[in-house]
Every structure is written in structure tokens, then in C-alpha cells.
């Protein structure tokens, strides 16, 4: 009788050991999963949100340049200073501004590229970049003298 009890005890202890290993394994898998999750989150955040922030900032810069009349003046030095001041350190940018004049012949309208201004760093040097675009008009007192479009690319320096 006592032999049976001993055997059953031994069996239970053996079982307990297996269940402990199982629980340990489960905890390890959960830890690996949590580790992967946190790694994934860390990987996502620095890439996505600063770029989104940079995108919005780039849009805002074009709106400001337009509404403050920088494109009408066409002063590349003033635009360079404004954009440099607006973007934080470590961000490079490149801007292309195109000025068009319209030719109206009856009901046919065509546009001729009159002037292009390129300002900033060569955009091929950026690692992560965003771009914003805008159209604009330059108006004198009685008519539209120029139609224009602008593209601003901004991004992080290639390390």
C-alpha cells in the first residue's frame, strides 16, 4: 500500500515539474512577444511621426511664404532665410519656384515658363524626405501678371 502511495507521489512530483517547465515556456513566449511588440513600436514611432510633423511644417511654410508675398517678390535670399529659420537644425530642403505667363489666343490659353528659382540643398542628399506643393498667382492692380507653382522638399540629412 505504502509503495503505491510513494509511486503516486513520485508521479505527481514529475507532473508538477513538467507543468512548471510548460509555464516557464509560456512566460518566455509572452516575453518574446512583448519584446517584439515594443521593438516594433519603437521602430514605427521615430520614423512615422517626425515625418508627418515635417510634412505639416513643410505645407505651412509654403502657405506662409505665399500669403506673406514672398513669391510675388521672388527674392530667393529672403525665401532662403525664411525657410531656414522655419525648419529646425538637421533638416535640409530644396525649393523650386516656377513663374509662368499666360498667352491667350481667342479661347486657347497656354502658359510659358518665364523664370525658375532653385533654392536650397540638392534633394538627392536626403534620406527621409517629404514634399509640399502649391500654386499661386501674382496680381497687379488690374490683372494676373504671373501664374506660378512651387515645390518644397525637406528631409533629414543623409548620414
Amino acid at each position: 500500500m505504502s509503495d503505491i502511495i510513494r509511486k503516486s507521489k513520485k508521479f505527481r512530483i514529475k507532473n508538477g515539474f513538467v507543468f512548471s517547465i510548460d509555464a516557464l515556456l509560456a512566460i518566455s513566449i509572452m516575453l518574446i512577444l512583448l519584446g517584439l511588440m515594443s521593438f516594433y513600436s519603437i521602430r514605427i514611432y521615430p520614423e512615422t511621426f517626425p515625418l508627418a510633423n515635417l510634412q505639416l511644417k513643410t505645407n505651412d511654410i509654403l502657405i506662409l511664404l505665399d500669403k506673406l508675398g514672398y513669391f510675388s517678390q521672388g527674392n530667393s535670399q529672403a525665401i532662403f532665410q525664411f525657410v531656414n529659420k522655419s525648419l529646425e537644425n538637421g533638416i535640409e530642403w530644396h525649393m523650386t519656384i516656377e513663374y509662368y505667363t499666360s498667352i491667350i489666343n481667342g479661347t486657347n490659353v497656354s502658359f510659358v515658363l518665364n523664370k525658375t528659382i532653385d533654392i536650397g540643398t540638392n534633394s538627392t542628399k536626403f534620406s527621409n524626405s517629404v514634399s509640399a506643393t502649391r500654386i499661386f498667382t501674382i496680381i497687379n492692380s488690374t490683372n494676373v501678371s504671373y501664374y506660378g507653382r512651387v515645390k518644397l522638399i525637406s528631409g533629414y540629412k543623409n548620414s
Binding site: 491667350i104 502658359f111 509640399a132 500654386i135 498667382t137 496680381i139
Partner: protein, 291 residues
């Protein structure tokens, strides 16, 4: 017997363990799939967010420059301190617009970096603002014209109104229904001159003039017998304002002049609304009416 029972119990345990492992593995697969799905959704949300920002920026650019185009769909001329409008009432509801509008449309559609269409909406011209004063000329419907000074300075800047009506048929009469006249040198006075001419026989012009109180409502009526053709209310609600209302069964040519105390520097608006559609392929398409 005992042995068989134990074997059956072990077999049951084996089956139970198999099912447990299968369920756990399924749960793991579902979990991994959920994470993958969330990451894709996050990227999609990010690209939609950026597209929305680009689309909003494009609407802002088109609206801002459209409303600053220095031509309007209203017919007027500016001479120093006076602005003369020449209109046919009822005003036509159409989508035909000026060549400047068409040129702007062509530029927006062909040269925007983002896919955009731009069309005039069949409607009446929008509000025209006269600068440097804050005076707005609007057409609430085809039969009405409203001239509203929007602040105290603008009310005081209006010196006089001249309204000249041309109608088909005999010349109508014009008379005050209510009038609050004041002396010429009163600080509340502004001058009204109105005339009407009928193209039919007898060819004659009727006119009326008065210095009226800019704070009290005066009403001028153009009528042929018992038929009212047009009523003009001065200072109704807003001092210095004018409200012209044509009886819908009539048609008139109306020339009205607003004379200010100083020079007019420019106007803004007065265009028919435009229907703008901005598309980011496969992501977002938005339509907006700007006016």
C-alpha cells in the same frame, strides 16, 4: 481492468493536450495576424493623413488665389471715389465666366502637382467687397441687390447713391413710401438721386432726390399705376444700406453708383462660385465649392 482504465485516461490526456496545443497555436497565429494587420492599418492611416494634408493645402491655395483674381462677374467701373454698377435684373444664373477665370482654371488643372479640376458653378456672382472701405455688394437672388456697409467708418464714408433705372414700355412713376429727410449739412445726411426712364412713348425721365437720415428706413417705389416694378429700401437694419427688390414679372436695366468720401483702392470677390475637386489617386477625393 485497472490497466485499461489507466491507459484510457492517458489517451484522454493526450487528446486533451493535442487540442490545447492546437488552440494555443491558433491563438498565436491570430495574434501575429492582428499585429500585422494593425501595422498595415497604421501605414494606411499615415498615408491618408498625409494625403488629407496635401488636399487641404491645395484647396487653400486654389481658394486663396481664386478669391483674389482682380476681375469679377459683375459689370462695374471705378472712377476715383465712385463705383458704377451696370446690371440687368433679373440677373442671369449661369456658369459662364470671365477669360481670367478660364485662364486660372487652365493653370490649376494643368500645372498643379496634385490632380485638380476647377469649374464655375451655375450661380449668381458672390459678394463683392469694396476697398479700402468695408462695403459689400451682394445679390441674394436674381431680383435683389444689397449694398451693406459693414462698419461705422464705412457707413460714414458713403456720400451718396445714384440709381438709374431703364424699363421697357412707358416711363413709371417714382415716389417715396416712407422718407426721413434731413438738412443737407446734418451729420446723418446722405444724398439720394434716383431716376427712371421708359423706352416706350412718351420718352421721358422721372427723377427724385433727397437728403435722407442714414439711421431711419426710407422706401422708394417705382411703379406703373398700381403695379410696383421695384422698391428700394434705404437704411433697413443697417445704416447706409440699400436694398433693391425687383418684382419678378419685370425686367430692368439698373445703373447704380456709390460715391465715397475718399478714393476706392480696389475690390475683391464678385465671382461665381467654383467647384473644385482634388484627387490623390487610390487614397482620397474631395469636392468643395468655393465662393
Amino acid at each position: 481492468m485497472e490497466k485499461n482504465k489507466r491507459r484510457a485516461a492517458r489517451q484522454m490526456r493526450g487528446v486533451f493536450l493535442t487540442y490545447t496545443i492546437f488552440l494555443l497555436f491558433s491563438a498565436l497565429v491570430i495574434l501575429v495576424y492582428t499585429f500585422a494587420h494593425i501595422s498595415i492599418m497604421e501605414n494606411d492611416a499615415y498615408s491618408v493623413f498625409l494625403s488629407v494634408a496635401r488636399v487641404r493645402n491645395q484647396f487653400d491655395a486654389v481658394e486663396y488665389h481664386f478669391l483674389r483674381i482682380p476681375v469679377t462677374d459683375l459689370n462695374f467701373t471705378i472712377q476715383n471715389n465712385s463705383i458704377l454698377f451696370s446690371e440687368t435684373l433679373p440677373l442671369t444664373v449661369t456658369n459662364s465666366s470671365s477669360i481670367t477665370f478660364y485662364t486660372f482654371k487652365q493653370f490649376v488643372e494643368k500645372y498643379s502637382y496634385i490632380n485638380t479640376t476647377f469649374d464655375a458653378v451655375p450661380d449668381l456672382p458672390g459678394e463683392l467687397d469694396i476697398y479700402p472701405y468695408r462695403v459689400a455688394v451682394t445679390h441674394p437672388d436674381e431680383y435683389s441687390v444689397l449694398i451693406n456697409p459693414l462698419d461705422e467708418e464705412s457707413i460714414n464714408s458713403i456720400n451718396n447713391y445714384t440709381i438709374k433705372l431703364v424699363v421697357q414700355g412707358s416711363t413709371p412713376g417714382l415716389s417715396w413710401s416712407d422718407v426721413y429727410t434731413v438738412p443737407e449739412n446734418s451729420s446723418d445726411a446722405f444724398y439720394i438721386f434716383a431716376s427712371v426712364y421708359g423706352t416706350g412713348e412718351p420718352n421721358r425721365i422721372n427723377n427724385i432726390s433727397a437728403y435722407i437720415n442714414r439711421s431711419l428706413t426710407s422706401t422708394l417705389t417705382f411703379s406703373r399705376g398700381a403695379n410696383e416694378i421695384m422698391t428700394i429700401k434705404f437704411n433697413e437694419g443697417i445704416p447706409g444700406s440699400v436694398k433693391m427688390e425687383l418684382e419678378p414679372r419685370f425686367g430692368v436695366n439698373v445703373n447704380y453708383t456709390i460715391v465715397f468720401g475718399g478714393e476706392i483702392t480696389g475690390t475683391k470677390g464678385g465671382m461665381r462660385p467654383a467647384n473644385v475637386t482634388v484627387t490623390v489617386p487610390h487614397v482620397i477625393k474631395r469636392v468643395q465649392i468655393i465662393k
